[in-house]
Amino acid sequence: MQNNILELSSITKKFPGVLALDKVNFKLREGEVHALVGENGAGKSTLIKVISGVHKRDGGDIKYKGQNINIKGPKHSRNLGISVIYQEFNLVPYLSIAENIFLGRENMKGKAVIDKKDMYQKSKKILEDLGIHIDPKTNIADLGVAMQQMVEIAKAISMDSDIIIMDEPTAALGDNEIEELFKTIENLKEKGISIIYISHRLKELWEVADRVTVFRDGRYIATHPISTTDKDMLIKEMVGRELKEQFPPRNVEIGEEILKVENLNSNDFLKDISFSLRKGEILGFAGLVGSGRTEIMRCIFGADKRDTGEIKINNKKKNIQNPQDAIEAGIGFITEDRKKQGLVLVRSVKENISLTDLSQVMDGIILKDNKDKKLAREYIDKLNIKTPGEEQEVRYLSGGNQQKVVLAKWLIKNAKILIFDEPTRGIDVGAKKEVYSLMNELAGQGVGIIMISSELPEILGMSDRVLVMNHGEIAGKLDIEEANQENILNLATKE
């Protein structure tokens, strides 16, 4: 039996309103590839951040190379020999490979001059050890994604890392590149480096991993040698929770077709997307992050260009070129990232709410402050937005209340089609329930709702029909009666 290089026991991490890690255990052996799997929000990323020192743990012990340690920050963890390769690389595009590998740790000739020759030689050696023959003077900007990833790995090796953590390393790679990566990982293993491997693509685990640990809802579920388990078993463990009664019942007569999208293609990614939406219906869009769900909605809303594709609203063809056209046609878009796309954080609740339709608070060309305030107060009451007043800047509100301000923006517009992109991400349970009730109420009024969600219970609890996306294509359409977590995950992850 090999030694454990890293042992985590009873790790707990709390965020306001959420217990992100609940007494989690995790053991990593020397020279093994250990996969970490779980749904979004299961606690994988949080655990990584605790190990790499980004988050401080609230409880539990970390044992590294047999010693109890206290990781003080990212730099400390790097010095200990723990490197993380995130999905977003930390590379400077207009510096060379070698300069990136040794960034911040340059070898010096004397006090002020960087020893470039030495740097290039060392880089070349590391790269060649990895089986890569490339001039280390090449700029990062001239490299493809796969090669950039190799540079990150080289960087980790140059720091004498004993543990390398890879967060979704195959997400942006093609098949050949994935094969190359797996060879490199094999190579690292032979050097005795331990790897924590996070992936949503379950199938590849049998090619690369030695053991797998499953997390669910911030809790440790199980660890298996990869050969003793299979995909179905992992999926069961990942989703194994009971559907709680958090979804208020809905009793809505589903009406005629309100939106029809035909043969939407865009950007060599979205392929042949066709679907329809009816009045009073909630259509769930499931799929992995990056499977193309948001991209479809941005095309429909005119925020991104589409190559082909027809959009019909109430059976009439609409030529939507920009968000103004979409709003004109009766579509509202509650975006995924409320801070970046939904709200003007430095302006007031009042100004944010009336932004989609100033004409309601105007007389001729003049903004009427009393109308503006009245409208804001109406929705603050209606949606139970907790704010000291309508003049409060929205950046001071909590996530759930910010989300309600975004909802209010579109409610004042009386949109007939509402797109909810991850409507409950990062908001607490109480606010979630309010959002669900509101969606039901809107459906009851005949609004057609599209809901993108990465939380399967939410998809199953709220939708009338489920559409599963996979790599820019519709992998399946399921009626709610036939949909369950297993068949959705299967469609979403099949290659």
Binding site: F15, P16, F301, A303, N322, P323, Q324, A326, I327, E328, F333, T335, K339, K340, Q341, G342, L343, V344, L345, V346, R347, E351, L355, T356, L358, M362, I365, I366, L367, R395, Y396, L397, S398, G399, Q402, K409, G426
Partner: protein, 332 residues
């Protein structure tokens, strides 16, 4: 104290700038007996009006998160062309002035078009326009001032309405209009929104290109107004007029508390900012401080004004405990 708090609340961010203005005025009137005379105060208003008027437009631009470096060049080109129409071509003054203003507005709109359609960063687009307009001004005048402007035109710069200089009246009118546009119309509301978060503004269905273009057009127009006043006061239009003007105008807006990162700011602040600069220049002149030292002192005032603003904002956020909740929100 009660009253002070009321004033403070109603003025918000301008409170700091207004306090500064009053403080500086008190210091100047103690330092020199000539400062606090009616004639001198009117003189300050007249001198401040040039920067203040262009600063009204610049406030809109900076609120949208942009910048306009071409205001000084636009001032020069529009005033030289207007002077040329009056002096060389003998056109009617009012037609010449109107055309000059239109030229200013068009130059601004052109900035807006480059910024929204190509799209170029505002800094680059207006830097280019700064060179082009200045250069055209030299080309047109061949570097020589245009003298002999009609008397009725000179009224724009030197005229008095009762005891008050005409440019000061014009300044007040422009600030009333700007206040209205910024606070009571779509132009202002959308400027704040797109300066605060352009992506959110676009996704809320706002035609951000249109409103950005309007805002640069407005700045061009107001710069041309300043150009008319300057030419009228000097009785000459020159290609070198308004050299370095853009920095004074930006300084006035920044001293007035408008944030260069966009989304926040008030029009009254820019007026106060311009008056602060006017008071300092005037007072230092009266005290016979050399213009070289004046530059140093004005530079320090800009640093001080922004520092006070930054520190005040931090401390008020800490007191409410909102800064920490804001950070917590960001993390979630």
């Amino acid at each position: 104290m009660e009253l002070l708090k009321k004033i403070r609340d109603s003025l918000g961010k301008e409170f700091g700038a207004l306090t500064g203005l009053i403080l500086l005025s008190v210091i100047m009137s103690l330092a020199t007996p000539y400062f606090l005379s009616f004639t001198n105060l009117m003189n300050i208003l007249r001198q401040s009006s040039l920067i203040a008027i262009a600063a009204a437009g610049m406030t809109f631009v900076i609120i949208t998160g942009g910048i306009d470096l071409s205001v000084g060049s636009v001032l020069s080109l529009s005033s030289c062309l207007t002077a040329g129409m009056m002096v060389s071509l003998g056109w009617n003054i009012w037609i010449a002035v109107l055309l000059g203003l239109i030229i200013g507005a068009l130059l601004g709109i052109l900035n807006g078009v480059f910024i929204t359609r190509i799209p170029l960063p505002p800094f680059i687009s207006t830097l280019g326009m700064m060179g082009v307009a200045r250069g055209l001004s030299f080309v047109y005048t061949q570097g020589a001032p245009i003298y002999g402007l009609p008397d009725s035109f000179k009224y724009l710069g030197a005229g008095m309405v009762g005891p008050i200089p005409f440019p000061a009246i014009l300044m007040v009118i422009i600030y009333l209009i700007s206040y209205f546009l910024l606070n009571k119309t779509k132009i202002g509301r959308y400027s704040y929104a797109l300066g605060g978060n352009e992506e959110a503004a676009i996704l809320s269905g706002i035609n951000t290109k249109k409103y950005k273009t309007i805002v640069y057009g407005l700045t061009g127009l107001f710069s041309a107004v300043s150009g008319m006043i300057l030419a009228a006061r000097l009785d000459a239009a020159t290609s070198v007029a308004g050299d370095g003007f853009e920095l004074d105008v930006i300084a006035a807006v920044v001293i007035g508390g408008t944030s260069l990162s966009g989304g926040r700011g008030k029009i009254v602040g820019s007026l106060i900012g311009a008056l602060i600069m006017g008071v300092v220049r005037n007072g230092l002149n009266l005290l016979l401080v050399s213009s070289h030292w004046q530059r140093v002192i004005l530079g320090l005032i800009i640093l001080l004004a922004v520092t006070v603003d930054v520190v005040r904002k931090q401390s008020s956020e800490d007191q409410d405990g909102t800064l920490s909740s804001f950070v917590a929100n960001l993390r979630s």
